[in-house]
């Protein structure tokens, strides 16, 4: 009998841990999304547009989920250091230089990246800022 109670307690606490973990991640995601949106408006929207539609051939759209997925580990580098190479997005080539945003801290980069990869029809989920810091160390 006692064994059952202990097992049940263990099981319940395990479930509780998992549930609360998920909750923490959901809360983090919401935090990142709302802060990321503010950063997006201030730094990205001018060129990439309110709905990530881009600006003709001058700035690529952020609606290409495949591009965002394939280049996931490079996104943080693009955001912080800009881009000075030709990129193919949605089957179109973009050659304009993207400016760097050195003033963004790792946490800002993580938040705006989570916002972009979970808006405009993208749904890549949460990326913790520790992962983004690692990505940033490996920038070319």
């Amino acid at each position: 009998m006692r064994k059952y109670i202990i097992n049940a307690l263990l099981f319940i606490s395990l479930v509780a841990i998992i549930v609360s973990c998920q909750n923490q991640e959901t809360i983090d995601l919401q935090n990142y999304m709302s802060n990321g949106k503010d950063i997006y408006k201030a730094k990205c929207q001018n060129c990439h547009g309110e709905n990530g539609e881009g600006l003709r051939q001058l700035a690529p759209p952020l609606t290409d989920s495949v591009f965002l997925k394939v280049n996931k580990s490079r996104l943080a580098c693009f955001i912080k250091n800009g881009a000075n190479e030709s990129l193919v997005v949605n089957g179109k080539e973009y050659k304009e230089k993207m400016p760097a945003f050195p003033e963004l801290a790792d946490i800002d980069v993580a938040q705006v990246m989570v916002y972009i990869t979970n808006s405009f029809g993208n749904k890549q989920g949460f990326v913790p800022y520790s992962q983004v810091s690692k990505d940033l160390e490996n920038c070319k």
């Binding site: 929207q45 001018n46 547009g49 600006l55 051939q57 700035a59 304009e96 400016p99």
Partner: protein, 216 residues
């Protein structure tokens, strides 16, 4: 009898109210003005108001062709100041201005003139590439290159738009994002913040009002 008079009075009032409402909207004149004595067609002297006008100009367009103010003769046009490597307000300005351009694309009386303030980098071939990438390449929307002096003076003295070099600014230049509406007599008739969607909508409404002035 009395009743008829009252009805008539009400009818008259209603008519006058309606006609008053129909008074046409007219755009204001911006800039300095002064009174001048002029002779009319019959040779009679009278005093008239003279408004500030855009002086003659001559710049290279995106095709490296010398373009003067003659290009805008007989047209109302929207002028703005920008530079191609600008990452702050210019993309938004031109994103919005593009919607105005598309609205009036078939109207030969409307033109667009964008002056670059980056005299170091924005040579005509750079402007050409920019126009092509924006998807608006053609004579209806001019992208003009000129010396610092000529462009900056034109901006500040004539179009009343502040521009300048600023080494502390991220892209090296600062400027206001006004879209300036010029009438067929080169007078300033409106200035709209190109970064604000509601003001750009107002511009779209004001262009036909300005064109209507010349239809009479």
């Amino acid at each position: 009898m009395n009743k008829v008079t009252i009805y008539l009075a009400i009818l008259l009032l209603a008519v006058s109210v309606f006609t008053a409402c129909k008074q046409e909207r007219k755009l204001p004149f911006y800039g300095e003005r002064h009174a001048e004595t002029v002779k009319d067609a019959a040779g009679v002297e009278k005093i008239d108001t003279v408004y500030q006008t855009i002086p003659a100009w001559s710049f290279l367009n995106q095709d490296s062709v010398i373009t003067t103010n003659k290009a805008t003769d007989g047209k109302v046009y929207v002028a703005d100041f920008f530079f191609t490597s600008c990452t702050t307000i210019c993309p938004t300005m031109h994103r919005n201005l593009m919607t105005v351009y598309n609205d009036f694309i078939t109207n030969p009386d409307v033109m667009f003139v964008s002056h670059t303030i980056d005299f170091k980098y924005d040579k005509p071939h750079v402007l050409k590439k920019y126009a092509q990438k924006l998807g608006v390449d053609g004579p209806k929307w001019l992208f003009l290159y000129g010396t610092k002096d000529s462009v900056y003076t034109l901006a500040e003295k004539n179009y009343l738009v502040a521009v300048g070099e600023d080494s502390t600014a991220k892209d090296g230049y600062i400027h206001q994002g006004y879209l300036v509406l010029i009438d067929k007599d080169r007078r300033i008739r409106g200035a709209y913040d190109g970064t604000k969607a509601d003001q750009v909508e107002q511009l779209k409404k004001d262009i036909p009002v300005l064109l209507a002035e010349y239809k009479k």
